[in-house]
Symmetry: C2
Subunit: 332 residues, 2 copies
Amino acid sequence: MTGTVVAVDVGGSGLRLQTCAVRPGAVLTAPGVRVGAGGIDVAALVADARALLASRAAGGEGEGEGADRGGRGGRDAESGPGAAAPEVVVWSMRGLLFLADRTEVLRIVAAGLGGRRTVVVSDAVANLVGATGRVGPGAVVAAGTGAVAFGTDFDRQWRRVDGWGHVLGDAGSAAALGTAGLRAALRAHDGLADGSPTLLGLAVDLLGPPELWPRQVMTTPDAPERLAAVAPLVSAAADTDPVALALCVRAGTDLGESLLRAADGLEAPHLAATGGLLAAAPVADALDRRLALAGAHRSPAHGGALDGALHLARQLRDTGAIPEHPAYLVSC
Amino acid sequence: MTGTVVAVDVGGSGLRLQTCAVRPGAVLTAPGVRVGAGGIDVAALVADARALLASRAAGGEGEGEGADRGGRGGRDAESGPGAAAPEVVVWSMRGLLFLADRTEVLRIVAAGLGGRRTVVVSDAVANLVGATGRVGPGAVVAAGTGAVAFGTDFDRQWRRVDGWGHVLGDAGSAAALGTAGLRAALRAHDGLADGSPTLLGLAVDLLGPPELWPRQVMTTPDAPERLAAVAPLVSAAADTDPVALALCVRAGTDLGESLLRAADGLEAPHLAATGGLLAAAPVADALDRRLALAGAHRSPAHGGALDGALHLARQLRDTGAIPEHPAYLVSC
C-alpha cells in the first residue's frame, strides 16, 4: 500500500508534521505553545495541522519561518496539489497521559483532519518507537528539560517512570541538574562546606546576583526552562570542579535507574536514551556505567517522537494492525 | 523611662502589633497577606497598624476576629483613650532584605505612625532577639515553611544562611521535608528501590492520586505552603518508616549546618531554633545531634519575632541606643 500517511508531534513548543507516501517528506512546523498548564488546546492543534497540510498540498511547503527544511526526504514526490485525504494519521501528544478525555481528543482530531484511520499516542510511545526504530519490547529515557522513562512490550506491560516535574521528580533532567547546580552555588555563597564557588561564579554571570534568583525560578511558568538553562554550566564545569562532576554523575545515574526500572520485566528489551542532556559526556558516561552495572547497554537512538509517529503510521498502513492501550495509544 | 513603645511584626500571613509601657499588652492582629511576590505593601501596613492602635486607644481592643487575646499581659494599663504618641516604634519585616529602598520604607512608616524614634528591622534580627532574649552574639535557625539561619554580634558580623526558597534551598524546612516525602512517595509509585510505600499511602490520602500532584505544587503561588503541609506526614511516619526517618534526620542535620554556619566566628554565641518543624522530634533530635558534633548546643527559644521587636523597642527607649546595619536594621 502506498497511500499517504501523516505524523504529527505535539510538544510544549509547537507542532511538527511530516507526511510520507513512499519516502518521508520535509518536516513542517507550527511554532507556539500547544501544551500548557490548561492542558492541550485540541482545536488549535487541528487548525495548525490543517494549515500545514493545505500549504503542502498547494505547493507552499514550509510556510516561511519555523519550517525545518533539513528533513531527510525533501519534498514528498507523491503529495502535491490535489493530494487525496491521508490513509493514516498518527498524533503524538505530550501530556496525553494526564487527560481524562483521550477518546474525545481522538474524535476531534479524526474529524478535523480526515484520514481513514486516526491514532493518538502518548509522546512516551512515540519517543520509544522513534528511538528504538521498531515496535517491540524496549525502553527509552528522555532527558530534556524534564525526564521520563517509558518501557513496554506493546502488549501486557506499559510502564512510565518519573516525569513528575522539576519539583517532585524529573530526576536526571536538565532542570534537575540546573537546580542542583544553583543549590551548590548558593551553598558556596553562604559559606557552607559542600558548595561550589566555581558554579557560583558561573551562575552569577548567567543570572545576576543570587538575591535575584529565587524570584526567577520559584513560581514563574517557565521555571523548568530557566533551571534547565543552567545545566550546561554544570556539565561544562565538570571537567574541573568536583561538585559539578558529582552532580552530573548523579544525573546520569538517575537516568539509568529510571531506564532500568522502565525496562524491568521486558524480554530482551532494546534500550535507548534521548534528549539534549545526553550531549553532556559526564552525564551520558554515568548513565552507561549504571546500565553496565545491571549488565545492560543502550543503542544509539534512531530518531525522535515524530519519527516514531511516522513509523507507527506506516506500520498501520502496511499491516492494518496497531497495538492498543487506553492510556497510551487509542485509535479509530 | 516609661513611654509607650510599639512593636509590629509583618509576615506573609498578616500583621501583629503589641504595645508596652510597663508590661506588654495583648497582641493585636490584622490578617491578610502583607508580603507578596510584589514586595511589601507599605501603605497597607501603615493603615493596618494605625487602625489597630486607634482601636486600642478607643478601648476597642482586638477588633473582632483575628485578634489574639491569648497575649501574656492582657490590656496594657498605661494605654487607653487619649494615649500619647508612642516613644519608640519597631517594625519587623519579612522580606526587608530584598528591598532596595529600605530607608524609604523607614521614612513612610515613621511618618504614618508617629513615634519619637522609628526602627525597621529584618525579621531575621527580630527572630534572633526574640529567640535568644537578648541583643548579643547569637544565631537562630527558623524552620517553618521555609528555613533561614541568621547570626550576628550586632557589630561587625551579620550573616544570613539559606532562606533561598523551596526550589533553590530552604534546607531543613517543612517545604523541603514535604517535597522530599512526596518524591519518596512517587519513587515508590514508580517501583524504584528507594521509594516509600508508606509515604505513598499517606500522601494519596492527603492529596489524591499522584497524577494530580504536579499541578498542585509546580507553579502555584502557594506551592511552598502546599509542600509544607506534607511535612507532618513525614515526621509522623518516621516512627515506623526508615525512609521517612532518614528524611527527618536529613532535615534536622541541614538545620544544624545552617545554624552552625550562621554562628561561625561569633564569640560565645547563644544558639536557638524556632519554627513549627521543631515540634517534630526526629527533626529536632537530629538538629541537636549535629550541634553536639560541633561541641555546641541550643537553648530553648524565648519568643518570636514580635517579642524580639518589642525587646529592641524597650532597649532603645531605656538606653537611647540601638545597633545599626544598612540591610538589617535602620532607624530614624
